[in-house]
Symmetry: C3
Subunit: 159 residues, 3 copies
């Protein structure tokens, strides 16, 4: 078993089937070492967005809930990366995460919420998980989901 | 006539003059095989945003109108790509589209609306048109336009 | 003294200490020639966001204030780039800026406001400062800051 697969097992994370393309776009594209992954909503293992992960954030929203939602998005990003490279040990670096949070009025702790995704990347990829990122509050997301996150990974050369 | 130019003609699409840079930014930049295209609003062939393409989306907005608006943005993206590479057959891949929709209250079918751009890329570039993407609802766009889409293309080596 | 450092001095710009990573993300990552810089808020030289740079934009907001805020974000981006490459003369090109403006109701002149960042890049990097960009109004930003801007730079080979 490879390093990252073993780490996922230790963390108790089972990667979902990556969301299939249902239209003229795909889950990921690749140019040289760069792997671009489509914005992932927080589909759970059953292929549905949990009711707790639908709606708009306000000043009283729970940081824990939103951070957990960002973590689920990150797991979906990793599932796409695995579909792209098969063996996640080939991921040389998490290059960039772009986080979009569905904000109704205001939600100041966007950075803390985004840490749900950033921390997961560090747990899974260790030093290779450290990435550049942006986190912004948007006016709406598909299905009124709480969070959408897109990513760029670096793929190492074949071993 | 090259393959993509012929396809555009079959689709009845005449590329507009790409929006010129009016300030210290440009329509596109290139680094190696990657072509980054600035966010395109939906200027029509007359250089203006159609009145139907101004305003904010709500729960009762027409998916068809928004999808059509996204298609116009995609045509503008292709016009920029042509300005960059001259012969669109040199586009090896549409790598990523980033769609921003101007949402007032809510507009759930963002993915369906974004398909207006994704489908156009598939019609024009066939398999090479399949891309990663994100689609989010934002609070405002320049000129209060309905949609803005940015893109990354892959350019093949000179033939 | 190198060309860009001299230019910064002429402009009276002292780069702040780049915002340190306080979590499992970093200020920048690099893949080959591409340098990805995290979204920068407008921290001033004292490490704080100025009170004038907090809040949401409305139809009566001052373009000058917002443009100035975008300029501060751009200075923070350059500070990150310097931390990445040491000598800013190694920046071959500003590839892309992604601007997020914190809009409450509406603020049409987003492009003009974004010019605060674009003009700064041209002042500092001259022709190499011309970039692709997107500028959108979002529903909220961390700390309720007025603007957040992320960037991609191209790094030239070592001299």
């Amino acid at each position: 078993m490879t390093v990252v697969a073993k780490r996922l097992e230790e963390l108790g994370i089972r990667l979902p089937h990556p969301a299939a393309a249902v239209a003229n776009y795909v889950g990921f594209t690749r140019v040289g070492a760069l792997l671009f992954v489509s914005g992932q909503l927080l589909f759970g293992p059953n292929g549905k967005v949990a009711a707790a992960h639908i709606g708009k954030l306000g000043p009283h929203s729970s940081i824990e809930t939103v951070s957990q939602a960002a973590r689920v998005c990150a797991i979906n990003l990793i599932a796409q990366a695995q579909a792209a490279v098969d063996d996640l040990d080939r991921i040389a670096q998490v290059v960039r995460l772009g986080g979009f949070f569905n904000v109704g009025t205001s939600f100041d702790p966007l950075s803390q919420a985004m840490n749900g995704a950033s921390d997961l990347m560090a747990e899974v990829f260790a030093q290779r998980g450290r990435h550049a990122r942006s986190a912004v509050g948007v006016a709406h997301l598909p299905f009124n989901a709480l969070v959408e996150i897109e990513a760029i990974f670096e793929v190492g050369s074949e071993s």
